[in-house]
Symmetry: C2
Subunit: 93 residues, 2 copies
């Protein structure tokens, strides 16, 4: 079986620690990079999760390798609106 | 008088459009770069403001030149806690 070296976590409405632990687990299972993705109000939580992993759980072991923001259309046609998105990639040093 | 070529906007609790307009005004007054800074829950709003400026008000005229996240200590000593921060720099093309 191939080693999974890229992980991905979608940040939603659960408590931030759920996503912190999911990220740490992916690194411990051998991921070299884990990307945290969020939309709308969950964006702040994605930043919190990345910072908690980087400064506490895996201090000195991971870096932020990239941060991208963008916009996505959501809703039915006619009622579409834009929501902001973020993708934070953490990478093992 | 020297031209102000760097602007800075601190995102707080006002409606997002206030910060969008403040950003557009700084560009129209000659800023080449405007940085949007936010902490905690205002982080999502900073991303919204940057995306609205980039995709609607100054479409094709500005790019995101950098995004940084970090942590800051807040509160009195003994009761300190970390809050996440973001700095999004928009730059005229």
């Amino acid at each position: 079986m191939a080693t999974v070296s890229e992980g991905s976590i979608l940040i939603g409405q659960k408590p931030v620690m759920n996503y912190v632990l999911a990220t740490v687990i992916q690194f411990n299972q051998g991921a070299r990079r884990v990307s945290l993705k969020a939309r709308g109000r969950a964006i702040s939580k994605a930043v919190d999760a990345a910072e908690i992993v980087r400064t506490r759980f895996l201090q000195g072991q991971v870096d932020i390798s990239s941060i991208k923001i963008g916009s996505e259309k959501v809703g039915e046609s006619g009622k579409e609106r834009l929501v902001s998105t973020i993708e934070i990639v953490l990478e093992r040093k």
